[in-house]
């Protein structure tokens, strides 16, 4: 009896301990996680940093001194490049290990290893589109060059030196929550991170949608509604900029080809609104007499922060700026003499080729009048718990056939039985560009650095202390016939292949223009007078138009007025169409709330300030109206994956073509006109807003309606910030939308003593239990910048430092 009692009790005890030590679904192992000895409590860091710390690390060649300023940004002083990148790797891992590793796991299609089979479709897509293949190609390029090889190897050694110090108790919080362990870092992971950037910024494709539209409505409608240059544009390289090169011949366009309909498709493509602003102004327009530069890349608003600030000092280099956690060097920043920044070029560098396999074995495909061999790659996807799923991917010379048979695909833009030709699969060495930029002294060095950049193509803005400013939409661009790749292409026809490259020196560029400034905001790289085809559509020109208007008007520019422009909330879209739209409404048919809203809009000065009501009304109305115009012909109910004509074309329709047939809803017997649609959608907008926010009033405020949030990378409730009171919006210079926005704002004033200012919506630490996880968010929200501490030596300005770390060799 007593034994029975004892054994029963033991069984219950063992079951309890087992249950508390095991992860069930999304629930972490409760006992292990809650234990203050080993669990999450360990990550509840003190706000105060140790004033002095000394570490002996194997792999260091000489002593390294690291000073932390009050935002806990590290300033690294090393005696050589190896130690410099070792220290960068070590420090970044110390602050961001989970983020770095999780992103590379995601890129490599290995999330199922962590969270189980629910991630299998995601993992398959990552692998089938050749993310690892592309990273291997880049890695080969980076390892072939001694300087970048050193960067990668030293950085990797630094990350691993940190991982070697960890035990389950000190693992970053997310490992405890998801119950897994970090693995050793490799140079391939650095390359994978660059591919993540490439996919986010150069991973969108409209080819499938466009071919579907072409098939359904014919070339005339495509020409009319999807033109190859906007009506209203203000390109990066101004129209009329003289060419300083003799262009190559462009391959002849082959006869028309229309691939078959394909409508087998899913969501999950990178958001269209990822864009950025940058500009530089000449010394004769500034208060200091020296050029100034500004940059704000717009990315998803996430925690841990996308960027990691650091100053890197060693013989031959002293650079400050932001890095990507997991990759060595500085991506956007400045040194003593030069400053640079980037925005995305919406180049068409992802094309789809319809593939004809010889038979069901898929061992050969037809190209250039012969059967060519297919390379089969078997992807082994590990699933948490031990299972392995094999998946075969077929590679042609174009690239991988992302989906080789009809199935529910992960990304709606992916046509089935098409091979993907993507620039990010080519051998490259972007790191070399960064290495050289970090050490650049003048424009010549800048130009030298740019030629190594392949993808994602970026608008590199430049300013230096020698009074030069410049802007290069830069990357490796295929030499295409006009509109090549606007639609899906014929994978068997050799003339549809990419047939060469635009020479690096002939990429669009502008240096020291007469207007005294250069700028980019993802719009067309150049005007119709540029000899090469880069894409038929770029981001809407709104931000570019506004920035150029302001810069042309501004004189005596100071860092603070540059900051002001970064926070500009002017709504070009509203200014363009709102007067015309309001004129369509019949006021007598509006009820009281609708009349109030009408009055509100009539008084609006077109600024998307956070406390205004009009931006809410206008943005909702504009969406509803666009939908009412286009959805019947181009929406999802057609059963085909298509898209609406762009905003520029819709402007033209509304402003210039009151009789167009597109206003008519083809599903109703009545013949709709613009005034009818405007009235209907206005009434519907006000009614739905009243339903959502109550009577017209404070709840309708733009910031409240927009509800910007900064979320944890794994979307953990409580680990981010909701309903942040900020203005701006999509296609506004202050591009803060619901989930995307300025991920780093920087202003640099060149001069005898370079001065930098910057902020990001987060903090240096990736640890949700750290004070430095989100301490910069409020300053960012207010649109302010912190002065960046730029030092010449470790003994310079010690007062500003709160902590010092010395790395000693073993």
């Amino acid at each position: 009896m007593k034994w029975l009692r004892a054994i029963l009790s033991l069984i219950i005890l063992l079951a309890l301990v087992y249950a508390l030590n095991t992860k069930f679904g999304d629930v972490p192992p409760v006992g292990k996680f809650l234990s203050p000895f080993t669990g999450f409590w360990q990550q509840a860091e003190s706000k105060d940093l140790a004033a002095e710390e000394e570490l002996t690390l194997p792999g260091i060649q000489d002593n390294v001194t690291i000073l932390f300023d009050k935002s806990r940004i590290p300033h690294v002083f090393a005696q050589n490049d190896q130690d410099l990148y070792f220290a960068q790797g070590y420090l970044t891992a110390r602050d961001r290990l989970w983020q770095m590793e999780f992103q590379t796991h995601a890129a490599a299609g290995r999330i199922s290893e962590i969270i189980g089979s629910k991630a299998i479709d995601f993992d398959r897509f990552q692998r089938r589109m050749g993310m690892v293949y592309g990273a291997q190609q880049s890695l080969a390029g980076m390892m072939a060059e001694p300087t970048t090889r050193t960067m990668l190897q030293s950085y990797t050694a630094g990350v691993n030196a940190y991982i070697a110090q960890l035990s389950p108790k000190t693992y970053p919080l997310e490992y405890k929550l998801l119950d897994y362990a970090p693995e050793p870092w490799t140079p391939l992971k650095c390359a994978l991170l660059l591919k993540v950037m490439a996919y986010d910024l150069a991973g969108r494709s409209n080819d499938l949608r466009m071919i579907n539209i072409l098939r359904k409505y014919g070339p005339e409608v495509v020409k009319d509604l999807f033109p190859n240059y906007p009506f209203r544009e203000d390109p990066i390289v101004p129209v009329g900029t003289e060419l300083d090169f003799k262009p190559l011949n462009i391959p002849a366009a082959p006869e028309n080809f229309m691939a078959e309909f394909s409508n087998k498709v899913l969501e999950k493509e990178p958001p269209a609104e990822l864009g950025s602003n940058n500009w530089a102004v000449a010394g004769n327009k500034t208060t200091t007499g020296f050029p100034m530069l500004a940059n704000d890349p717009h990315l998803q608003l996430n925690l841990p922060s996308i960027w990691y600030q650091v100053q890197l000092v060693a013989p031959g280099v002293n650079v400050y700026g932001v890095s990507i956690p997991g990759a060595p060097g500085i991506i956007i920043g400045f040194n003593k003499e030069v400053s640079w920044g980037v925005t995305n070029v919406d180049a068409d560098v992802m094309d789809w080729y319809q593939i004809k396999f010889k038979d069901a074995t898929k061992k050969e495909y037809f190209h250039d009048n012969q059967w060519k061999p297919v390379r089969q790659v078997i992807e082994k996807i590990k699933i948490r718990g031990g299972a392995i799923r094999n998946d075969t991917v077929y590679y042609t010379h174009h690239g991988p056939v992302v989906y080789d048979r009809p199935e529910e695909v992960f990304n709606k833009q992916t046509p089935v039985s098409h091979a993907m030709r993507w620039i990010a699969h080519d051998k490259s060495n972007e790191l070399r560009t960064l290495y050289l930029l970090n050490r650049a002294h003048n424009y010549q060095d800048f130009q030298e650095a740019l030629q190594y950049w392949v993808a994602p193509a970026q608008n590199f803005v430049y300013a230096d202390v020698h009074q030069d400013i410049a802007l290069w939409p830069n990357g490796k661009f295929p030499l295409k016939w006009k509109t090549q790749g606007k639609f899906t292409l014929d994978g068997s026809n050799k003339t549809h292949d990419w047939q060469g490259w635009i020479p690096a020196a002939q990429n669009p560029h502008v240096k020291n223009p007469a207007r005294g400034f250069v700028s980019s905001a993802n719009q067309f790289s150049a005007g119709p007078d540029y000899p090469y085809y880069i894409n038929w559509e770029f981001a809407p020109a709104d931000r570019g138009i506004r920035i150029n208007q302001r810069l042309a008007a501004m004189q005596k520019i100071s860092p603070d007025s540059m900051r002001g422009l970064q926070n500009d909330n002017f709504n070009i879209n509203a200014q363009t169409v709102l007067p015309t739209l309001l004129a369509q409404l019949d006021k007598n048919k509006l009820n009281q709330t609708q009349q109030q809203a009408f009055l509100e809009l009539s008084k609006w000065q077109y600024y998307n300030h956070p406390d205004q009501l009009s931006p809410t009304i206008f943005e909702v109305w504009w969406q509803a109206l666009s939908k009412a115009i286009w959805d019947d012909e181009f929406g999802s109910k057609t059963g085909l994956e298509m898209r609406y004509p762009n905003r520029d074309r819709t402007w033209h329709l509304v402003l210039q073509e009151p009789q167009a047939k597109w206003y008519d809803n083809i599903h109703t017997p009545a013949k709709e006109t613009l005034p009818m649609l405007a009235q209907q959608t206005f009434v519907a907008t006000i009614d739905s807003l009243a339903k959502q926010h109550g009577a017209l009033g404070k709840k309708w405020q733009w910031a409240n309606h927009k509800a910007t949030s900064v979320q944890h990378l794994a979307k953990l409730p409580g680990f981010g910030h909701e309903n942040i009171f900020v203005g701006g919006g999509r296609n506004i210079v202050n591009a803060t939308s619901e989930r995307n926005g300025p991920s780093w704002r920087m202003v640099v004033a060149l001069g005898p003593q370079v001065k930098g200012y910057g902020i990001y919506p987060g903090g240096q630490s990736g640890n949700p239990g750290s004070f430095y996880y989100d301490n910069l968010l409020e300053t960012w929200r207010q649109g302010k910048l912190n002065e960046l501490v730029y030092l010449q030596s470790p003994t310079d300005g010690n007062a500003q430092f709160v902590s010092k770390l010395s790395l000693r060799k073993k």
Binding site: K2, W3, R5, A6, S9, L10, I12, L13, L16, V17, L20, N21, V30, G31, K32, L34, S35, P36, F37, T38, G39, F40, W41, Q42, Q43, A44, E45, S46, K47, P168, L173, L716, P717, G718, F719, P768, G769, S770, F771, Y773
Partner: protein, 113 residues
């Protein structure tokens, strides 16, 4: 009381260096050795571990101004952050109490034979 104090000190020390479930083994062994009554064993085990877990998590909580406590509390849908401290201590306490009780039961079974 002796069991409680010994358990408090020893489990605290061992949990510092070993996996968290070492507390079950310590509670079991000490209760096997020292416990006189079932209820006494349970409450000594519960109390010692409860107190150890509460004390240490409270230390981290205060050092951190409660930043992480409120995040994790939201994640676990607890209405108040301080409840997380209580939940933590109770989970530890239950394991400690049950382990001590089991140790006592084994002792009784053993001795009777």
């Amino acid at each position: 009381m002796r069991l409680f104090l010994l358990l408090l000190v020893l489990s605290f020390a061992l949990q510092w260096v070993l996996p968290w479930w070492i507390l079950a083994i310590v509670s079991f062994v000490l209760a096997f050795w020292l416990a006189k009554k079932g209820s006494g064993a349970f409450w000594a085990g519960f109390g010692a571990i409860f107190l150890g877990w509460l004390g240490l998590s409270l230390f981290f909580h205060l050092r951190n101004d409660g930043i992480l406590t409120s995040r994790v509390a939201t994640l676990f849908t607890l209405p108040q952050p301080w409840l997380l401290l209580l939940v933590t201590a109770v989970v530890g306490g239950l394991v400690g109490g049950l382990a001590a009780l089991t140790g006592y039961f084994f002792r009784r079974a053993w001795v009777q034979k």
